[in-house]
């Protein structure tokens, strides 16, 4: 059941929030031993919030579509009095004294918090093979990774443990678990959703967004969490739209940009087949496919790595004397960041502006750009390289190759599942111009499976 359907059932008195919450708890307890999607389960709080939601609805107080809906937060969102670990040993006992803006808004919207989901240590990576809290597993095949870093959120949504889960995305960390787990994942435009009270990985690349079962559900969540927040320096005053309007219903006349560079290189055959089929279906439905060359994502990915390595190492510098408390993957990245010269970081931020200007020109020719979300399906847990058409590639680099550049530019991007004969899910990435979230979500309902 989607948020949209559950909200309708709640209002028709066919089901109560307490019933939805108890069923969600049953799913969580049944799946947690298999998937390890949660770090903390907030059962007592969830039942209290659900009772309150039912009581309010009975008294005619309706907080909107998320009222009474069970959800989860990635364990980077501060929750007052509830530990927020960032998937790390360093913050394993961290009890925040204040709430993140997203948690405030979701509480105000009447949503029911079921718990805090697992992630890659410090949200720094994509395998979710966490050395401190254990590996998170993919609901479609528990031997495979869920993707990351918001892997617990992706697994929790895909396994029907919650109706939606919040994630953070620094270089694909919402969209990668969405494609690997087979759900929708939305990284909004920079500044659209407040980062206040979220444990950061990278000040200039972090974005907050939802993982949901459908694009329409992502719009419902975005309606609750989007908007200006003076407590976040990067927060935008751009007007907020209605992100959950009715789907556009037709692709007729829509110009879909299809990159002729980069995104068609080194793609697994099953991913390429699903993507080509989706393009054919879109064209048959009246869309115009516009081949175009996008600003070189390979170069932007390099810029992204310099920025991320530098900022993450600067952020965690005070803790680096505790080397043994970091996992091997993360300490290796932090060591790299410490060795990069400051001049490289500054020049990476200058190059970023250059590429942002180049990307701005793309939107005169197309309404959105379509790519596969990742060139591969979910690899096995512990797998370090993946073979794509006979060429080995590092799993982390392959998984992030099609998504990380978008964080550098700051564009909104959504991943939705594609129809596939592959046993593992495959995602379609829909990239839009800044603050085009409403249009992207409307299109997505016609493009995804």
């Amino acid at each position: 059941m989607t948020i949209f359907q559950a909200a309708a059932s709640l209002r028709a008195r066919e089901v109560s929030s307490v019933e939805l919450t108890k069923e969600s708890l049953r799913r969580i307890h049944a799946e947690q031993p298999r998937l390890n999607a949660f770090i903390t389960i907030t059962e007592e709080l969830a039942l209290a919030q659900a009772h309150r939601a039912d009581d309010e609805l009975a008294r005619g107080i309706d907080r909107g579509p998320l009222h009474g809906i069970p959800y989860a937060l990635k364990d980077v969102f501060n929750t007052r009095g509830i530990r927020t670990t960032v998937g790390s040993k360093i913050f394993a006992d961290n009890i925040p004294g204040y709430d993140s803006a997203v948690f405030e808004k979701l509480t105000e919207a009447g949503a029911v918090l079921m718990g805090k989901t697992g992630l890659q240590e410090f949200a720094y990576g994509i395998t979710c093979n966490n050395p401190h809290f254990g590996a998170i597993r993919n609901p479609h095949d528990p031997d495979c990774i869920p993707g990351g870093s918001s892997g617990g959120s992706g697994a929790a949504v895909a396994a029907d443990m919650v109706y939606f889960a919040m994630g953070s995305d620094t270089g694909g960390s919402i969209r990668i678990p969405a494609t690997f787990c087979g759900c929708a994942g939305f990284k909004p435009t920079s500044g659209r959703v407040s980062r206040y009270g979220v444990m950061p990985l990278d000040f200039s690349l972090d974005h907050m967004g939802p993982l949901t079962r459908t694009a329409q559900d992502a719009g419902l969540v975005l309606n609750a969490i989007a908007g200006f927040d003076s407590r976040d320096d990067t927060s935008s005053r751009h007007p907020v739209d209605d992100y959950a309007g009715p789907p556009s219903g037709s692709l007729r006349g829509v110009r879909l940009g299809v990159p002729t560079n980069f995104y068609n290189e080194r793609v697994a055959s099953e991913v390429a087949a699903a993507f080509v089929r989706a393009l054919g279906e879109a064209e048959a439905a009246g869309a115009t496919l516009v081949p175009l060359s996008v600003p070189d994502p390979a170069e932007i990915n390099i810029v992204s790595r310099v920025i991320l390595l530098s900022e993450a190492s600067a952020l965690l510098e005070p803790y680096l004397h505790r080397r043994a408390d970091f996992g091997a993957d993360v300490i290796a990245l932090l060591d790299q960041g410490r060795l990069l010269p400051a001049t490289d970081y500054i020049n990476a931020q200058r190059l970023r502006r250059l590429y942002q200007r180049e990307w701005a020109k793309v939107w005169s020719d197309v309404d959105c750009v379509l790519t596969p979300t990742a060139p591969i399906t979910a690899p096995k847990i512990g797998q370090s390289t993946v073979d794509i058409a006979g060429t080995p590639e590092d799993v982390r680099l392959a998984s992030t190759r099609f998504v990380r550049a978008i964080n550098v530019i700051g564009l909104p991007a959504l991943s939705v599942p594609l129809a596939t004969e592959s046993p593992m899910p495959i995602g379609l990435q829909i990239i839009g111009k800044p603050f085009s979230e409403a249009a992207l979500l409307g299109l997505a309902s016609n493009l995804g499976h």
Binding site: D233, D335, Q336, I346, R350
Partner: protein, 59 residues
């Protein structure tokens, strides 16, 4: 090519030799890919992250 071991020693970074050996190829690759991009930069182009008015005001 940058000598990462010498750089770490000069900056007194507590990175064990084995760790440096592991990360050196990745840093070499990144440096090789990044350096040519600098030729694209117009002299007056400012970074995407700049001082904000609210920071100047101490907010």
């Amino acid at each position: 090519m940058t000598n990462w071991t010498a750089l770490a020693r000069a900056r007194a970074l507590d990175i064990p030799p084995a760790a440096l050996e592991t990360i050196a190829p990745s840093l070499d690759g990144l440096e090789q890919a990044f350096r040519p991009l600098l030729a694209k930069l117009p002299f007056t182009l400012e970074p995407a992250v700049t001082l904000s008015e609210s920071a100047v005001l101490g907010e």
